[in-house]
């Protein structure tokens, strides 16, 4: 097989959600001398981008997105030991912190955003569910992200998003980050009322906005 054929096989394994086959495909690519960084960026990542696009178009559902992500994780386990130090750090990534706010144990929408932001080139720190405002502030202080994404499914917990924004203000960090909020009950009017930068209508629209912010940051706007 040529190098291009190995890269294509990696892409295909992701888009076909081939949990059983990915390890062998990845190992074959490494044994054939395919550059590990290339195997990721030109093999598996384009596969994930394709799955993400099908999700955006409504052809794939959450299950496909999750399983494709799982296939990629299995492929990474094989490829990571072949990565040469420094090569993977060619371009510093913009960082995004994602969290489901305190008192809320729903993470489906947040996880879709985490997956899609990762595919779009963000270094995503997923803080999980039921995350208090104080922990988010600590993480923002330590990681200096471009974006903080807050998620809530319950109208009873979405008020905690406002607490996070207030805590960021108190810590003098609000102006250093873009805050995007989302979740079933969250409306633009509510997002405005708590001082968020954007209310994501859905995960896909939210990721587009984050990409736009990334573009603006790169252009120094």
């Amino acid at each position: 097989m040529t190098q291009e054929e190995h890269l294509q096989a990696l892409r295909d394994a992701i888009t076909a959600m081939d949990l059983d086959g990915i390890a062998a495909v990845a190992q074959a690519a490494m044994d054939a001398g395919v550059d590990a960084q290339k195997a990721i960026t030109e093999g598996m990542v384009p596969g994930m981008v394709e799955v993400g696009e099908k999700f955006e178009e409504g052809e794939y559902f959450l299950s496909e997105l999750v399983v494709a992500g799982e296939v990629m994780k299995d492929g990474m386990k094989v490829i990571e030991p072949y990565l040469t130090a420094g090569k993977g750090e060619a371009e510093a990534k913009a960082r995004a912190i994602m969290a489901t706010v305190e008192g809320d144990y729903h993470d489906i929408g947040k996880n879709i955003v985490v997956t899609l932001l990762g595919v779009q080139g963000f270094d995503v720190i997923d803080m999980g569910m039921d995350v208090p405002a104080s922990r988010i502030v600590e993480e923002v202080r330590a990681q200096r992200p471009l974006v903080v994404g807050l998620s809530a499914l319950l109208s009873t917990t979405m008020a905690r998003m406002g607490d996070v924004i207030e805590a960021l203000k108190q810590a003098g960090l609000r102006d250093s980050v873009k805050v995007i909020v989302g979740g079933t009950p969250v409306t633009p009017a509510f997002a405005d009322s708590i001082g968020a930068d954007h209310c994501a209508v859905n995960a896909i629209e939210g990721v587009h906005v984050c990409r736009e912010w990334l573009k603006q940051a790169k252009e120094g706007k």
Binding site: V67, E70, Y105, D107, I108, L154
Partner: protein
Amino acid sequence: MAEMTRRERILTASRRQMADRVPFFHNWRHCQQGTVERDCRNRGMGLSWERPSYTFTWHGVEVTETYETYTTAVQTLRRTFKTPVGTISLVEKRGAGTGQWHHMRSWQDVTPWQTERAIKGPEDYKVLKYMYDNLEVEPDYFPLEQAKDWIGDDGMVWDWLPHAGLQLLMIDWVGSEGGRFFVHHARYPDLVDETFQSISRAYEPLWEIAAGSPADFFLLADNIDAVLVNPKLFKRYFMPEWEKCCTALHAGGKLVGVHMDGRLKALTGLIAETSIDVVEALHVPQMGDLSLGEALAAWPDKVIWTGFPGSVYALGPEATKQQALAMLRDMGTGERVCFEMSTENLVSNENLAMLTSVLEHATLPLTPEKIDAIERSLR
């Protein structure tokens, strides 16, 4: 038309017949008690109450519960299921007020969350399978008889049927956090399917028990959202189970609804193929993705019990009024629709009073002129 009782109104609409006005009712587990609630009920708001017609007994399963944290503000409880083939355990976090209010809701109306799931890996499925292979379902009609007697004509008592097999796995045992259920379904399809089949077999007596229940209406708790339940899963795991339920219950003239408060657009055609009578807790955009008009057109043989969006309640009475009027305008003549004041949230007195003010004069058939008159009366 003579004025119907609240119970007659809900049942008439649910049977696709013309009620005297749009039925509206509040679910017991979200409903306040007091001055405003009484006033709204006097102005036509009904009550709904859910109770089961069955009990479950796991034979050969030792269930123990231990508090890992206990304060009146929060409790963390480990529940362990010990069987001859192995042991599984889960951890549940309960907020303040759990057990002191309706159902297992906290003061903030939040149900206990599992912070550790019972099914952690493939080795745990055999335990769960054993549990459902040894589950006995028995009738117990007292809770329904009692509630029906108490509620009288003020509303409806329905028989609450549990999550069907796949939702039991996805919501109650495996969980969907981090896509966990989908990963298990992809990595261990045989284990998932075998366990699903055990649950399905264990529930066979449930449908016959329900058919003998004193309830007129039965609600499958399935909590459908197409983001989680995609069309392939829906067709394979839900439709056959619902058909078994509907076959048993329709034979006795009973009505069957399914709790579906998520995004349903991707399932529109498949839902139309099912035999269920009522799509319960439909949420219009932005919480859901189908408007009332779209839902009524997509499912001409089904009745919509629409939930009222909590995101609108959060914006106050004026937004509540505008949303309710918009929903009335999207209902055509208003047949085949009931309003549930809330299916997910507590409602403030101000919002409840406003929604009642909009709905109390919504006589059927609805016309644009009637809705305009309601709007003028509230200026």
